[in-house]
């Protein structure tokens, strides 16, 4: 297990380096600057000399290569730079947002797994039944619904009509405020998991070794326990990993809608204000999260099925 872990970590480093370069170059060509973003609605009448001085001090007038070299040098030692907007270290801004984001993503994923996997299993065990049809209709709907619309509907139903939950905000950080955004974020992965689980289980159920097991007199419960679960789980875990990794980025809409204090809302505001160091930092965090989750999933494969080896 340890050599595999070492190899995966070694793979992460060049991937991250490539991502850093890509993010930097993308934002170097993005039109609009922090200085112009300061003048929204004509609130800031900037003296041209001051504007020039600010651009110079922020390094915005340096050649891209110089800025890139400076940025990479800083990132290498964990310094993500200083926010143009708040003039605070980006690491500090992001660290204040990480925990709420993680909490939301984990809760959404827990919901997705808790509902999606059993639903897919049930559907696969009784193909063509009413439960199969209902769960697949639900899954397709879940994949098609926009998070924004779904979030609003959840607010409307559970907050405004039933008065069970608060409609927005972080509250005191308790579970009551977490439920609605987590469900809004988790419905998409839940639907995908239900479909994937159903397909994976059906695939295994129709496999030759399962037929052999049945012909040897193994009960259906034992077949599911011994063969189906383990074999189907690899595909299910892959889906969980991919969804988990991408949820941090996908949470932007939900965070904004529910006034959730996560990395997503920080990213949105930073983009609008051209606070490039913060934008770069947020994206880097999201990508790192994705890579780390994928590494953990790879390790989980090995734990589930020792036949899997990574070269």
């Amino acid at each position: 297990m340890l050599p595999i872990l070492a190899r995966r970590v070694a793979n992460i480093v060049p991937t991250l380096a490539a991502v850093v370069a890509l993010i930097f170059l993308l934002f170097s060509v993005l039109p609009g600057s922090f200085v112009s973003a300061m003048n929204e609605d004509g609130r800031t009448a900037i003296d041209p000399a001051v504007m020039e001085r600010m651009r110079k001090e922020m390094g915005l007038d340096d050649p891209v290569a110089t800025r890139f070299a400076k940025y990479v040098t800083h990132v290498a030692v964990g310094d993500l730079g200083t926010s143009f907007r708040t003039r605070e270290p980006v690491t500090k801004l992001i660290s204040a947002r990480v925990w709420p984001s993680l909490k939301l993503v984990f809760a959404a994923m827990c919901f997705a797994i808790a509902v999606g996997v059993p639903l897919g299993f049930l559907a696969a065990l009784k193909p063509g039944s009413a439960i199969d049809t209902a769960s697949m209709v639900g899954a397709i709907s879940g994949l098609s619904l926009s998070q924004f619309w779904l979030g609003l509907m959840l607010m409307y139903l559970f907050a405004l009509q039933l008065k069970w939950l608060p409609s927005f905000g972080y509250g005191d950080g308790g579970i009551r405020h977490l439920i609605l955004p987590a469900v809004a974020l988790g419905v998409g992965p839940m639907a995908l998991l239900a479909r994937t689980t159903r397909a994976a289980v059906l695939d295994v159920l129709n496999a030759d070794f399962v037929r052999t097991a049945r012909s040897k007199g193994m009960t259906e419960t034992r077949v599911v326990e011994w063969h189906v679960l383990r074999n189907a789980l690899v595909l299910v875990i892959t889906t969980i990993g991919l969804q988990f990794g991408s949820l941090m980025g996908a949470a932007v809409v939900v965070e904004k809608l529910f006034s959730w204090p996560g990395v997503g809302s920080l990213l949105v505001d930073s983009v609008f204000q051209r606070d490039i160091p913060t934008v770069q930092g947020c994206i880097l965090l999201i990508v790192t999260f994705f890579l780390v989750i994928n590494t953990l999933i790879d390790l989980a494969y090995v734990a589930i099925d020792p036949r899997i080896r990574y070269g």
């Binding site: 609130r43 009448a45 900037i46 003296d47 607010m155 006034s259």
Partner: protein, 530 residues
């Protein structure tokens, strides 16, 4: 029987009066829950560092400036000074500062704090938005340019007496009421991390900021206005999404909400919600601004033709859902120099065609209009304009960009025309400076307006000691702008604040309706928030 009826009438009258008084007498205690509706996060809680309107919602609770805006009388009034006297030449002001204003760290404010704060705002490496106001003090520009360390026009006479010398005759109240010119305690700012833990002079003391979600503050017992603030706590909840805000408001989770055009229609039509609507003509002018370097727009007749060609009233009614006032000039109606007799350009396509023909464009021309997605002054409006201009032969090609890019384009002059919203109040002189020939594009002269007659009027207004004379000159300048039509005069924003029945003391602040002085607000016992 008659006696019984009389008794009942007396009982009803007494209880009725008592009930009415209960509604009129501010209640001490409770929580005010306001909304910050413009972005998903606050930019900074350091009032000097942020140019964003949203941030001053919290700013008004935590910070104070030398002046504040008196909404009832629609003018700036002294806030951190008890009195002020002006020299005969109208350039030097002597302030007797409050000796009862305490920062939230317990220290009394003195003249040094005012001087230090204004010097900080003029730090030219920071581009602080308040610099646009402080520049009026003698020697401030030198500090901004790094040629001096201290603003020479600020002099401490004693701890509570401050002398301020200006470079021209203006009413300083218009310059020093904005949150971006708040007076801060030096020691707290220099400690670092001020944006995260602000300490001010306001009626509420900072308690907690959950970035992207809310700011909480609690009553500052040493606030200098006796008996105020009324509420124990204040929460500013960040809710950038209008639909989510609507659900939360209807669910009674927030006390105030800003309405967009669609919500405005729905709330006005609702018998209950319509009882809690506060409207004000805010000091923002929405306009399509022409770049005269694009040849057709160098001709006044072309610019006027566009103003005649568009049925602006219909667009405001149908598209903006009446959530705006027709612009009749650049200055908004709440400006002192606004000419109430002015009439907007009428919808007259025939006249537009004639003007175009006279200008040498009988077959019209084509131009590109840079626009953002904004529902009140962006692409939907541009799409409505296209057929009107088409009828007089002008082909309009919209170029959709993000708001930040739009500002950059306007600042650099890389456009043929653009449509946007501009802060146009409350000081008429400062507002009209956006058309002064020496004002650069970066400092708001987006139309590169250059008219010697206009400059002369503005110079004369700057020299005028008498405010009535000054306003008259500014009125003439504004009327000249109307005639020159460097923009298509579209509308002035009608800001609409929805409020719950238990919240009282809200102010129809035309400088920005969300900027409420929370010490005047109170919530009655029916509020669901404890």
């Amino acid at each position: 029987m008659r006696r019984l009826v009389r008794l009942a009438a007396i009982v009803f009258a007494v209880f009725g009066v008592a009930a009415a008084q209960a509604q009129d007498t501010p209640r001490r205690g409770g929580t005010i829950r306001m909304t910050a509706p413009y972005a998903a996060s606050f930019g900074s809680l350091d009032p000097h560092a942020t140019p964003r309107a949203q941030d001053d919602i919290v700013g008004k609770a935590l910070q104070r400036s030398l002046y504040s805006w008196d909404t009832a009388n629609n003018k700036p009034v002294l806030e951190l000074a008890k009195s002020v006297s002006a020299s005969p030449d109208g350039l030097t002001y002597t302030y007797k500062l409050r000796d009862d204003a305490y920062f939230h760290n317990g220290r009394k404010m003195t003249a040094d704090d005012v001087i230090w704060s204004y010097n900080r705002i003029m730090d030219g490496s920071k581009g602080f938005p308040g610099a646009r106001y402080v520049r009026i003090i003698k020697g401030a520009v030198e500090v901004e340019k790094g040629q001096a360390k201290e603003i020479s026009g600020l002099k401490k006479i004693d701890d509570f007496t401050l002398e301020m010398t200006l470079t021209e005759r203006v009413e300083p109240g218009y310059y020093f009421f904005a949150g971006t010119t708040a007076i801060l305690p030096r020691e707290e700012v220099e400690r670092g991390n001020y944006g995260a833990y602000p300490v001010g002079l306001g009626p509420f003391k900072f308690k907690e900021h959950i970035p992207g979600s809310r700011v909480a503050a609690e009553r500052w017992d040493k606030f200098y206005k006796p008996g105020k603030p009324y509420a124990d706590k204040l929460e500013v909840l960040i809710m950038a999404e209008a639909a989510a805000r609507d659900v939360a408001f209807r669910n009674k989770e927030i006390d105030t909400s800003i309405l967009g055009p669609a919500q405005y229609v729905a709330y006005r039509a609702d018998p209950e919600l319509s009882k809690g609507i506060l409207e004000v003509a805010e000091m923002f002018t929405r306009a399509m601004q022409f770049n005269p370097t694009y040849k057709p727009f160098a001709d006044k007749r072309v610019r006027q033709a566009i103003n005649y060609a568009i049925d602006t009233n219909l667009i405001i009614k149908r598209l903006v859902k009446d959530k705006a006032y027709r612009a009749v000039s650049w200055l908004p109606p709440s400006s002192a120099a606004f000419d109430k007799t002015m009439q907007p350009y009428p919808f007259d396509p025939a006249k537009a065609k004639k003007l175009l023909a006279d200008a040498g464009y009988p077959n019209g021309f084509e131009f590109e209009l840079s626009t953002s997605q904004n529902e009140s002054w962006g692409l939907p409006i541009v799409e409505a304009i296209i057929p009107y201009l088409d009828k007089v032969g002008i082909k309009l090609k919209p170029k959709l960009v993000e708001v930040t890019v739009l500002t950059e384009i306007a600042m650099k002059g890389e456009h043929q025309a653009f449509i946007g919203s501009n802060l146009t109040g409350p000081d008429s002189l400062a507002t009209l400076r956006c058309f002064y020939s020496k004002t650069p594009r970066t400092a708001c002269n987006y139309t590169s307006f250059n008219n010697p007659e206009f400059d002369k009027l503005l110079d004369a207004a700057g020299e005028a000691a008498d405010m009535a004379k000054r306003n008259d000159l500014l009125r003439q300048a504004n009327n000249l702008l109307y005639e020159e039509a460097p923009v298509w005069f579209f509308n002035y924003n009608k800001a609409v604040l929805a409020y719950q029945p238990w919240i009282h003391g809200l102010q129809a602040n035309p400088t920005e309706i969300t900027h409420q002085y929370p010490e005047n607000i109170w919530v009655d016992a029916t509020s669901p928030a404890k």
